[in-house]
């Protein structure tokens, strides 16, 4: 049996993915992802540049973690498209709060 060494892709704030990669990896459609951006729940890293073409959008690869959770919730709870943005905002808020809680627990005196 051959053991191939495989390259890992970091899912964090330092690495980026395009909209097409996000579609391929997240399980959400382009229309759903564009709606998330339009509603402000998902912000491309280059949102402030003048290039507004969809294929120019770059996202932090970290967002893939929340978006895959969102995709699971959409599938398992049969969420309506309009509920997706709100759910993503709450997922991100929970992630931030959990990180802060973890930090406090490990640094408390």
């Amino acid at each position: 049996m051959t053991l191939n060494q495989t390259e890992l892709i970091w899912l964090d704030e330092h690495h980026e993915v395009t909209l097409q990669e996000l579609i391929a990896l997240s399980g959400l459609s382009q229309a759903e992802l564009v709606l998330l951006v339009e509603n402000g729940a998902l912000v491309p890293n280059n949102a402030n540049t003048s290039d507004l073409r969809l294929d120019a959008w770059q996202f932090s690869s970290q967002c893939l973690v929340s978006i895959r959770t969102l995709s699971r919730l959409k599938h398992d709870f049969e969420l309506e498209p309009n509920a997706l943005s709100l759910t993503l905002v709450f997922l991100e808020r929970i992630r931030t709060l959990e990180f802060q809680l973890h930090h406090l627990e490990h640094t408390k005196t």
Binding site: M1, L3, N4, Q5, T6, E7, L8, I9, W10, L11, D12, H14, A24, L25, G27, S61, Q62, L64, V65, R68, T69, R72, L73, D76, F77, H102, H103, H106, T107, T109
Partner: protein, 314 residues
């Protein structure tokens, strides 16, 4: 393969309508969905619930499931003769289809995999399944980087169009700089895609094994630093372990419990070659078994000292 009573799992009668099945599923999903529930047993329970719902909500799958007959939950059983021939439109599914090495979930998942669907579905590209794998590594391995041997099995079709549990084995290099809870993606290492569609991906969740000395937050490390009362009062130079060997730390006189002393760049490495810091958290420890001489010295200190730690009570 072991029989699973999907009706019992959802708590509905065999005659339940699709609305009743949906209602029961939603109630249970709110209770056990792993992204909603923090119950550690919830994930396993939700797998069963999702599997039962995916089968019973689909008219054809439900009919195929009902055609298996009723068996006690957990009982080993084999589908009736010709069951595969009747359920699969694929002519390659012979009556001798063995069902070895797969479970009920794999069997019904295969209905939507495109392998045994209608002719149109037969040519439709279907991306491979994504999988998630959690792995634990030591703090030392995270500090230095490590090559992991990843081994897991996933259901896949063999050349006879039979579902089998297929082992996947490969190596993945975890570089320096990972953090606890880091997610990583291995492209194309999930299930096989069909008809020209890409293979699925593997998502790796990396967690650190709790360390006996260090706690980790992001790239910073924390270590409890026990000090004797006289070391805290007078100051001292003490040896503190780090992941790169012990260092001497100068503790200033008058150190307080809970005070943190920062040892720069002795934390976990970052992706940009920098390092987090190590924080020594002072804990003043009182000896519990005093010798006669120590007791006398403490008494002398008590008689001499004007220090009142409760002055703020007044």
């Amino acid at each position: 393969m072991k029989f699973k009573d999907y009706y019992k799992i959802l708590g509905v009668a065999q005659t339940a309508t699709i609305d009743e099945i949906k209602k029961a599923y939603r109630k249970l999903a709110h209770q056990y969905h792993p992204d909603v529930s923090k119950d550690p047993a919830g994930e396993e329970r939700f797998k069963e619930i999702g599997e039962a719902y995916a089968t019973l909500k689909d008219k054809e799958k439900r009919a195929a499931y009902d055609a298996l007959g009723r068996h006690p939950s957990g009982e080993e059983f084999r589908p009736p003769p010709n069951w595969a021939k009747n359920q699969y439109s694929d002519s390659s599914a012979s009556p001798e289809y063995t069902f070895d090495d797969i479970d009920l979930a794999d069997l019904f998942a295969s209905f939507s995999s495109g392998k045994h669907q209608s002719h149109q579905d037969h040519i439709r590209p279907i991306p491979g399944q994504d999988y998630e794998l959690a792995t634990q590594i030591s703090l030392e391995d995270a500090h230095h980087g490590i090559t992991l041997d990843l081994n897991f099995t996933v259901p896949e079709y063999d050349t006879q169009s039979q579902l089998k549990q297929v082992p996947h084995n490969f190596k993945a290099r975890i570089p320096k700089g990972v953090t606890h809870g880091q997610k990583m993606l291995l492209r194309g290492k999930g299930g096989n895609g069909f008809h020209g569609a890409p293979d699925g991906n593997l998502y790796l969740n990396i967690n650190f094994i709790p360390h006996r000395l260090f706690r980790v937050t992001d790239h910073d490390l924390f270590i409890d630093l026990p000090l004797a009362p006289w070391e805290a009062a007078l100051g001292a130079t003490v040896k503190v372990p780090t992941l790169e060997g012990a260092v001497n730390l100068k503790v200033p006189a008058g150190a307080r419990s809970g005070q943190k002393l920062r040892i720069g760049k002795r934390g976990m490495p970052k992706q940009n070659q920098e390092h987090g810091d190590l924080f020594a958290v002072i804990q003043i420890v009182i000896p519990t078994d005093l010798s006669h001489q120590e007791r006398e010295l403490f008494k002398e200190l008590a008689d001499t000292s004007t220090f009142n730690p409760r002055v703020h009570f007044n």
